[in-house]
Symmetry: C2
Subunit: 191 residues, 2 copies
């Protein structure tokens, strides 16, 4: 199997939207924002138009009409193609099934935690824990009032996941800070 032609996950988001109905690029971005998907996908005007072009080049989507309002440049409305629908599902399936290596900044930093010295490391971890606690609260609020409005849980399922992941990170940060403070995580000298 040749590797996927497009790897940018923003493309996944756009395809997913176009499966609902045709849209023009700016509308895709604002719809994603409305649905709070801008925490899940990095939406940047530059990347947006690049990605749309790339999707079109590979025929996963295609222009269906160009609307002109006033005397300003035309907006091009895109729809998904049959190929696009197939690629979308296959890609999704693969992303869920198979963990791939990613390189989060926090892991990078933790791998040099020693360089901060025990005091400062414990401080920093505790501060992180506080930030994470706030984010978890935010997620809980968002979940509560979205479900309160009658939306199905599945629409916010990724928020449930990140909430869970943050909680795990929070637990680790607190536990590790405590171990440092108690001396049960010994600190070698050569740092």
């Amino acid at each position: 199997m040749p590797p996927r032609k497009i790897r940018n996950t923003l493309a996944l988001a756009l395809l997913g939207l176009l499966l609902e109905r045709p849209m023009h690029p700016y509308e895709m971005a604002s719809t994603l924002r409305e649905r709070y998907k801008d925490t899940t996908f990095k939406i940047n005007p530059g990347s947006l138009y690049d990605t749309v072009e790339s999707l079109a080049k590979h025929r996963w989507i295609e222009p269906v009409e160009t609307v002109r309002e006033g005397n300003r440049p035309e907006r091009t409305v895109y729809a998904h193609t049959e190929l696009g629908r197939q690629e979308f599902v296959a890609w999704l399936d693969e992303l869920v099934r198979t963990p791939v290596a990613e390189y989060p900044k926090f892991v990078a930093a933790v791998s040099y935690l020693g360089a901060l010295g025990p005091e400062r490391a414990a401080d920093a971890l505790e501060e992180r824990a506080r930030h994470l606690a706030e984010r978890i609260e935010g997620a809980d609020t968002a979940l509560a009032d979205t479900v309160g409005k009658g939306a199905p849980r599945l629409f916010m399922i990724e928020v449930e996941f990140v909430r869970h992941a943050w909680q795990a990170e929070l637990d680790w940060a607190r536990r590790t800070a405590a171990e440092i403070r108690s001396g049960s995580l010994p600190w070698p000298d050569n740092f």
Copy 2:
């Protein structure tokens, strides 16, 4: 405060190495690999040389000698500067203290989980769970025999963290798959 001049975490890894002793670029890469840091940092020959150049341009590191062996191109050996040492610690501190938005592929996929349909979604989550279980085992082995060799825990602390994160992800995947199978996570039709 102006934003950091360099954001690539590979730069953090390189700086960290150069705090130990001066090295030439290729040696940095192979040392990182020896220490299993290639799962934490994305090491790519292109990025490596670009990053070294960028570090040098900003005077976080500087060339200390050029060694010539045989009649082949010179290898440039770099050392950290005082500025580099300061930036390293400040950057590290910030990365640990403050969570930043990242956009992992799995979260992207989960946010469109509905499109897979309940059957396939549960299948995919269960397969992911199996992959994660394997990785966790691998991490346990690595931890056991590194500590067995007398290395301090702190040298593998990031492995402890990712192990913890994977375990949380595994739990979520299994639980969510079970909820789908049992019907307690209802599936709307419009997917």
